[in-house]
């Protein structure tokens, strides 16, 4: 029963939504829409489960090894404070202050760190261990050079070359990846829908 019920729910809900995908019928459509709304609600609850896990994880670490307790406390206070600002005091301006002066600068600067990481990844990826690395190195340097605002000045053919690279080989490459991914997605979904795999049904 512990495994049967979840599997049955998965199959029924899945087939219903699949039918909704292809068939337009008032009953199927309305139940399908409700199921999709249900997914949204479940995701929201899952988020709160995740937040509890985050708090529990750090509380446990604080009590267990006492290392880094300062940082962990900052995390928990920030989390709690933002939640309170958003749920208890909506419209007080507290949330928008936090967003504008703390969250936004942190987020955009964390994203800016990618510039460092891209360069250190390039240090490894640009190493010519094999032919593949050579192709990748040449393409990325050519595309980058042609991306610069003065590429036209260096050679008028440079932007054309870049456009051709993006137009033909890159389009072929991404299309191939998308098609392959679609095939993989289809079989993986079929495995779940036909209950060959049921990673959700755990003892």
């Amino acid at each position: 029963m512990r495994r049967f019920l979840p599997i049955a729910v998965a199959i029924i809900c899945g087939l219903w939504v699949l039918a909704d995908f292809f068939v337009s019928h008032p009953l199927i459509d309305s139940v399908g829409a409700k199921l999709l709304e249900g997914v949204m609600i479940l995701a929201a609850f899952a988020l709160f489960a995740g937040i509890l896990n985050l708090l529990g994880f750090h509380a446990r670490r604080i009590s267990k090894d006492q290392k880094d307790w300062g940082y962990r406390l900052v995390l928990m206070v920030a989390l709690g404070g933002t939640l309170i600002a958003g749920i208890v005091l909506p419209g007080s301006g507290a949330l928008s202050w936090i967003f504008g002066y703390m969250y936004y600068p942190l987020q955009s600067t964390m994203a800016a760190l990618l510039a460092f990481f891209v360069v250190s990844a390039a240090y490894r990826a640009f190493r010519l261990r094999n032919g593949e690395a050579l192709i990748m190195l040449i393409t990325s340097l050519v595309v980058l050079l042609a991306q610069l605002p003065f590429s036209n000045r260096i050679s008028p053919y440079l932007p054309l070359l870049r456009k051709w690279i993006l137009d033909v080989p890159v389009t072929a490459g991404t299309r191939g990846i998308i098609l392959g991914t679609a095939l993989g997605t289809i079989t993986t979904s079929l495995r779940i829908l036909l209950a060959v795999d049921h990673p959700y049904a755990q003892d």
Binding site: F22, N53, L114
Partner: protein, 260 residues
């Protein structure tokens, strides 16, 4: 017969949907046939994907050295279109968790998606129970950071800070945060393996991983690791790949000759 057709057209008004339904009808029997074959023990040889060989070795090494592995499960939401990719990341986690649990060793899983968290907790709990160490299970062996992608990368990098981990295994949906995480932790792990299916993320992980899994290979994880029943899926994919290639070739011929 006419009535059936009419009903079909009435129920499925869109031509793309009709074509898709046709594809599904083609897929389904193949899939069922090959999966049955695989379940009954039929095997076929697969090309080597070094990343999966590496994952097997890393898991053995982790068990021997006692150094935990970090498995990054990505941000594919269960219940959305990225469910399939999320399911594959859970399959990889399942593999690592079962082997690690058999020797009662530690493991760290992180994810940016709370639905994956709940699912992975169940998998780890079962693995510990089956290995005979149910008391070793802690829900906090899995950590949720996020759901913002960069917050995930930052949080997971922080979680890896205290204890040296043997490896990063990142499989699932990753964007630029995959590169962020891999590079920020690269001095603290001795190997990084992983990949994602979307082209943008795959390019970044390809550049930063020791062994990369690219595109469709993500969906082969089960067959290459510990789920022989997934071999049926791979056989189906191979056949449907050829069908797609033939469709493109026939389409080009017809278009060029002016029939379409």
């Amino acid at each position: 017969m006419d009535a059936v057709l009419q009903l079909l057209v009435k129920l499925v008004p869109n031509s793309v949907d009709l074509a898709a339904l046709g594809m599904l009808v083609l897929f389904l029997p193949l899939f069922i046939f090959f999966t049955m074959q695989a379940k009954s023990g039929k095997r076929f040889a697969l090309r080597e994907i070094p990343a999966f060989t590496r994952i097997r070795r890393l898991v053995s090494q982790s068990v021997e050295s006692g150094q935990p592995i970090h498995v990054g499960l990505g941000s594919g939401r269960l219940g959305s279109e990225s469910t399939a990719e999320a399911a594959m990341s859970l399959t990889v986690f399942d593999y690592v968790a079962r082997h690690v649990a058999a020797c009662d060793q530690d493991i760290l899983g992180t994810t940016a998606e709370p639905t994956i968290l709940a699912s992975a907790q169940g998998i780890l709990c079962t693995a510990r129970k089956k290995a005979g160490f149910p008391e070793s299970y802690a829900p906090t062996d899995l950590a949720f950071y996020g759901p913002e992608a960069l917050a995930y990368a930052a949080g997971a990098a922080g979680a890896l800070h205290g204890r040296p981990h043997l490896a990063n295994i990142l499989v699932g949906r990753f964007g630029s945060e995959g590169l962020w995480l891999a590079e920020a932790t690269s001095s603290r792990v001795s190997a990084q393996v992983g990949g994602t299916s979307a082209a943008e993320g795959a390019a970044l992980l390809w550049a930063s991983m020791d062994e990369a899994i690219v595109g469709e290979e993500v969906y082969a994880a089960g067959a290459y690791l510990h789920r022989p029943s997934h071999l049926g899926s791979l056989a189906t994919q191979d056949i449907m790949r050829i069908v797609a290639i033939l469709a493109i070739l026939v389409g080009i011929a017809m278009t060029s000759l002016g029939y379409w």
